[in-house]
Symmetry: none
Subunit: 191 residues, 4 copies
DNA sequence: CATGAATGAGTTTTCATTCAT
DNA sequence: TATGAATGAAAACTCATTCAT
């Protein structure tokens, strides 16, 4: 059979896995359910992934790579620092919002027994575009003097929290809300 | 009389469970391990908790109640809004830091199959002290005009994120860092 | 403590055991339930009986001995064979009826893993008074020529069956019914 | 296609269960033993039956339905009442004899915690062919005037009792014995 | 490759029995 | 003796993985 078909199936399995992790968490993740959700037989999943651990780890890599590339797209070196930061942050927010299944998976993965020392380091790469931009901001003295990790937390933390609130049902995120939020964050991190 | 069924043992089981969840996550939680960690026989756990689900749900309630009470202690109505907010926020931060096992458990619980509609609502109570103080701030016009949920995210989000960074090893949280962080947050939420 | 008290407790445990076996059968018989039903602590049962098997076997012996003696009481050698048989059979019926818990226990015991070769033989003793009377009947040529075991079945079988029907709710046993039933049975076994 | 989930396996499990219940009783029935006896892995049984309770209840229904159909086969309305009754009774006897495993199971089931109100009623259906024939007998005035339940007990009770005796080893049932027994029973129930 | 029934090791849960009080 | 909490071996049940079709 054609190669294309295989890739489609891998994607199918990834989507099924993420969806289930978002809905019921890692704890309840069963291989049989993944297969069913993907519209495949249990055994088929094992053709594409050696075992559960491999599936999860490969999915993790897949999401990480895809995410990093996507949300950091189109950042223009020519733009002012503020403008660049605004753009990157909003892209991150929107990306997180649209890809909540991926986000949920990443979050769960952190506290899972699947997280190895290796993937711990790789995780930081996800924030790489942010960290680089923050470096530029500090060089241009447009950013408050403080550890970059703290500044990153000030920017990223609220995003995660707001998405959680929306999932809870206690907050409705609109473009306006996103814009205002950035302005507030900017107040705290600008120099 | 026979050995007395004691609350101390319940506490023991709770601690063992939280410790294990923090270390290896929800996924790997085994009743036999809980018992061993608590220094008890497997069967003993079942004297105090009907089954695994009950243990987890009761532990969740226990942590929630205990946490809410603790971090919100000693808030003085006489203090200025800024001072009160600073105090509550720092207490929340320190509490989260000191009770990372509890925090880890709560976080894991959110995405677990154990979360019911009922516990979803109860969860909001945890943030109640914060929400009340924010109301006061908005009445006194000391707080930016924005949905309280957003403001809460701006305050709480960075705390969660920083603690995660410290767990990762990419950040070392010191009292100074905490203080500076609050000042930055205050810049964004004050009016 | 006094000796009397002990015997009372043994009796208490026996009654509790029989009641539970009647209600839910052997399968569901738990030592903790026996104790609770008897109003005792679990451990107390083990003071009087070495283990579950011992309790069941001793109870079996207790019932067997008590029953045999009781239902066969007052049989008068001077009475005619028919009169004697009638009396013995009715006593057996009434005894079975009044002591349905005992009867249920005996019945269950037969099919249980507690039944040993030894108790298998002892079981026949229960029917001894009947078998003796049947011997007399055959000597007096008042009884049909057929294996005594078959005749016994013709007499005893309906009793068990009727009691089961009454337990089911599909039959109401009255003294009149008992009398008529004997007359019918007599028709079949007389010579 | 994968191995097909087959009804034959269900039959296999049923046979294994009945055999074990007959040999060692309900009490000692273990799922692992059922599987082993059926030549399957433990887990396989759970593919066909949700849990132990379900297995037992479905087996009960299976036996009941099968039994009713089988022993009542070939009854001819044209035959005289006596002939019909003789035939039905003998078929019942032989069936009970040949299917002692089934019979043992049914008997055990009655006093088990698995018996529900629903199955209690269904149980009566087993005797339905008998009850109908008895009705005919009473209409034709060939049967003694007495509650049908009593007459049923006079006919069925001895069968159960004799089989029990044979199992005990105290009676050897032969075709001659069966024939003579019916004649005696007929003496008591005819009008 | 695809399927999904079968497997059996691994977990959860029960319950006879012990033992500290 | 009496108590009933504690124990842990044994039974019920689950689910990742295999394999016959």
């Amino acid at each position: 059979m054609a190669r294309v078909k295989d890739d489609q199936k891998i994607e199918l399995i990834y989507q099924a896995t993420m969806g289930l992790v978002m809905k019921h968490g890692f704890t309840a993740l069963k291989m049989a359910d993944v297969a069913a959700e993907a519209g495949l037989a249990t055994g088929t999943v094992y053709i594409y992934f050696k075992d559960k651990e491999t599936l999860i780890n490969q999915l993790y890599n897949y999401i990480r790579e895809k995410s990093t590339g996507l949300y950091a797209e189109g950042i223009d070196e020519e733009d002012s620092f503020r403008k660049s930061l605004r753009r990157l942050w909003k892209q991150f927010f929107n990306f997180s919002l649209e890809h909540s299944a991926e986000a949920a998976f990443l979050e769960q993965y952190q506290r899972s027994p699947y997280l190895t020392g290796k993937s711990k380091k790789e995780n930081n790469l996800l924030m790489q575009p942010f960290l680089e931009l923050l470096s530029r901001g500090q060089q241009e003295k447009r950013l408050v003097k403080l550890e970059k990790e703290v500044i990153l937390s000030l920017m990223i933390g609220p995003v995660h929290e707001m998405i959680r609130s929306q999932t809870n049902g206690s907050l409705k995120i609109t473009p306006t809300v996103i814009d205002s939020t950035f302005e507030l964050i900017w107040e705290s991190v600008k120099r």
